[in-house]
């Protein structure tokens, strides 16, 4: 087993990996950028070294600097977390060349899965169902028209090297195809330096369901159940759960077996995730494979009772999987809320800044993977994910109620977070009925943002309104230092700096002067 592991990441995932290492008696090495000196992962690690300025390209993405730290401090392995270098085959290769174990798949598997067309070709050979279309880039608009005619409109154009919605176009009819193809190709060229674009049938209102797999380096590959990830916005997942409300044991087994086939076709090792699109008839199609630990891995950990990071490290150390497929059982239900530094009152704009107050939930069935603490300044340079709140229960209903209770206890002040969004989702009838697809969250957000976000029944909210009014007054009289009237001004001149003196007087003056 390794004695020392370097974590090439930051935020909650770096903290989560440090915890696993500590549990296994492995020393940890953190790396950090100039703005992350005070970050939690630096505080919690055994060793920590600076790797450059705030921009990720100059720090967390610098393979040379990270490998240099690994060599100097004697780390035997590197855990890349998710994002940053986690799916970079060049980095995995550089680690191998430097004699440091990369905790993840081989560069070969990563490269194969990194190109969507190459992955499709490989999966076609292995007999994996995928969305009808081409497995190669389109040579001409005419070819695109022929394929679209065969699979039927609407169709989706996708960049082979794509990700994050770039180089992607939904085409409803033949008339739109030619110009959509041209713009998708030029966008793919600009974004990825590769203009290859392929075509596939567009699945209307799909669900996004993924299957966790684990493979050791001795040819054993198993599946650990699915995660429902349909609640997304701007191609970013917001809430995930396991199991999916629509997957029954038979469908789970079929998806799991296909996922194992996918992994084996790529000679895959370590933890990975096979993503599927699922249509309204519950047909599922291979979409892509994520060659890393996922953000949402805790819901699988809670429903299987396994620790995926422990297992990743054991596998990377050359050990065999300690159990077989038949030993894996799915028990209970888990739901994860991604707590982002985003302003729900301002179109979910990012909201970095200092956390002045932090009250954190705990208690039965609650897991919190967090990278924040009270007094910490959330930097503006990285992804807005602050923490993950995961609720676990005997069944879906109990998991929902536990999460609601935990959200009741959760409180972050100083910056805005999307905590209130989860109350809207958890309280929504469609969510409770499990009626989800990838358009769900946009539809929910298109409804007017209620001034009150709550699961409570209407009459109770009415009574709470009076309580809120009294509380506002009591805060003002008991804590006059924090100016109460900062918010009372005009709707646009919204950022008056707090000053001392009588707020009312100041308010009157500033309004009078306008």
């Amino acid at each position: 087993m390794f004695k020392k592991i370097l974590i090439a990441n930051r935020g909650e995932i770096a903290v989560r990996i440090i915890r696993a290492c500590r549990e296994m008696g492995i020393a940890t090495v953190a790396v950090y950028s100039d703005v992350d000196r005070a970050a939690l992962h630096v505080r919690k690690s055994d060793e920590a070294y600076p790797i450059g300025p705030a921009p990720a390209a100059e720090s967390y993405l610098r393979m040379d600097k990270i490998l240099d730290v690994a060599k100097r401090c004697g780390a035997e392995a590197i855990h890349p977390g998710y994002g940053f270098l986690s799916e970079n085959a060049k980095f995995a290769q550089a680690c191998a060349d430097a004699g440091v174990k990369f905790i993840g798949p081989t560069p070969h598997s990563m490269k194969l899965m990194g190109s969507k067309t190459r992955a499709r070709q490989q999966m076609e050979k292995a007999g994996v169902p995928f969305v009808p279309g081409t497995s190669r880039g389109l040579d001409s608009p005419e070819e695109g028209e022929r394929v679209a005619e065969r699979v039927g409109y609407p169709v989706m154009l996708k960049a082979a090297a794509g990700g994050g919605g770039k180089g992607m176009r939904l085409v409803h009819s033949q008339q739109e195809l030619r110009s959509a193809l041209e713009s998708a190709q030029s966008e793919a060229q600009r974004s990825f330096g590769d203009s290859e674009v392929y075509i596939e049938k567009a699945i209307v209102n799909p669900r996004h369901i993924e299957m966790q797999v684990l493979a050791d380096e001795h040819g054993n590959t198993i599946w650990l159940g699915e995660r429902e990830c349909s609640i997304q916005r701007r191609h970013q997942k917001v809430l995930e759960e396991a199991p999916s409300p629509i997957v029954d044991p038979d469908m789970r087994r079929r998806m799991g077996e296909i996922a194992v086939k996918v992994a084996q076709a790529a000679n895959y090792t370590n933890a990975g995730t096979v993503e599927f699109l699922v249509d309204e008839q519950k047909n599922f199609y291979f979409l892509e494979m994520n060659t890393r630990l996922q953000v949402e891995h805790p819901v699988t950990e809670l429903t299987t009772g396994l620790d995926l990071v422990h297992l990743q490290i054991h596998i990377a150390a050359g050990e065999k999987l300690p159990f077989a497929q038949a030993d894996v059982t799915i028990r209970g239900h888990a739901i994860e809320c991604r707590i982002y530094a985003e302003d729900p009152d301002n179109n979910y704009f990012p909201s970095p800044g200092k956390i002045t107050v932090l009250l954190q939930p705990s208690g039965p069935g609650i897991r919190r993977d967090s990278g924040m603490y009270e007094g910490w300044n959330v930097p503006m340079d990285y992804d807005p994910l602050l923490a993950k709140l995961i609720g676990y229960g005997t069944d879906r209903h109990q998991a929902i109620m536990r999460l609601e209770r935990a959200l009741y206890e959760y409180f972050v002040a100083g910056i805005k977070t999307n905590i209130s969004l989860f109350l809207r989702i958890l309280g929504d009838a469609d969510f409770q009925a499990g009626k989800l697809d990838t358009g769900y969250l946009d539809r929910l957000l298109a409804k007017a943002n209620p001034a009150v976000a709550s699961l409570a029944p209407k009459p109770e909210i009415k009574a709470m309104e009076s309580i809120a009014a009294i509380a506002a007054g009591m805060f003002a009289v008991l804590d006059p230092a924090s100016s109460i009237s900062k918010n009372g001004g005009g709707s646009t001149d919204s950022s008056k700096a707090p000053t001392v003196g009588s707020s009312w007087k100041r308010q009157g003056r500033s309004e009078g002067l306008r």
Binding site: A341, D343, D345, N346, F349, P350, S351, P352, G353, T356, V357, L359, M380, Y382, E404, Y408, F411, A413, K416, S420, L423, A451, V452, A453, S454, A456, I461, M464, E465, S466, I467, A468, A469, I470, A471, A472, G473, M474, F475, A476, V477, L478, D479, S482, I484, K486, N487, G488, G490, S491, T492, D493, S494, S495, K496, A497, W504, Q507, E511, G512
Partner: protein, 169 residues
């Protein structure tokens, strides 16, 4: 102390009149003309423990330079306070402001590009500059229809919340 308190947002929110006076051993509270028996303490910053006729409430205050929200249990209310003596603190409808208005940075970030030039005409809600923070690009929009008098933002510059990006008249 007399406050006018709007609970539930600028549009459709209800206005409450609250009178608070120090009394022996606590506070006298009159809400919309009704006497309410209350006891309140602040156990820690931005948290209020409020007892109303024996019912216990924990209220959390989420205050930024832009707005105020109070959590009563798991319900989150937009709250606005006014001094009833100040007529000028009445809210004016957005986009109908007279005179020059500042366009402010709502969050710390970096200016990516300008979407309009100085002295150009803009509509209410038209994007003026793009500010990037946390890997997301955000369009900062015009608060009114008018002329861009001054454009103080420049591409590449770091901005802090409250910084003036432009002035629209």
């Amino acid at each position: 102390m007399i406050y006018e308190i709007i609970v539930g947002g600028k549009t459709g929110g209800k206005i409450h009149r609250l009178e608070l006076a120090k009394a022996a051993g606590g506070w006298e509270c009159l809400l919309d003309g009704r006497t309410v028996n209350i006891d309140a303490i602040i156990p820690r910053r931005d948290v209020l423990s409020l007892l109303v006729d024996g019912h216990s409430y924990e209220i959390k205050r989420e205050q930024t330079s832009a707005d105020l929200h109070l959590w009563v249990g798991s319900a989150r209310f937009a709250v606005e306070m006014r001094d009833p003596r100040s007529l000028r603190s009445r809210q004016k409808p957005a986009g109908d402001e007279k005179g020059p208005m500042k366009v402010l940075a709502p969050m710390p970030g970096r200016v990516v590009r300008l979407l309009v030039a100085e002295n150009s005409e803009v509509e209410l809600g038209q994007g003026i500059v793009v500010v990037e923070a946390m890997k997301m690009q955000n369009e900062i929009k015009s608060p009114k229809k008018g002329l861009v008098k001054k454009l103080s933002a420049s591409p590449g510059a770091a901005v802090n919340p409250g910084d003036v990006l432009a002035i629209v008249e």
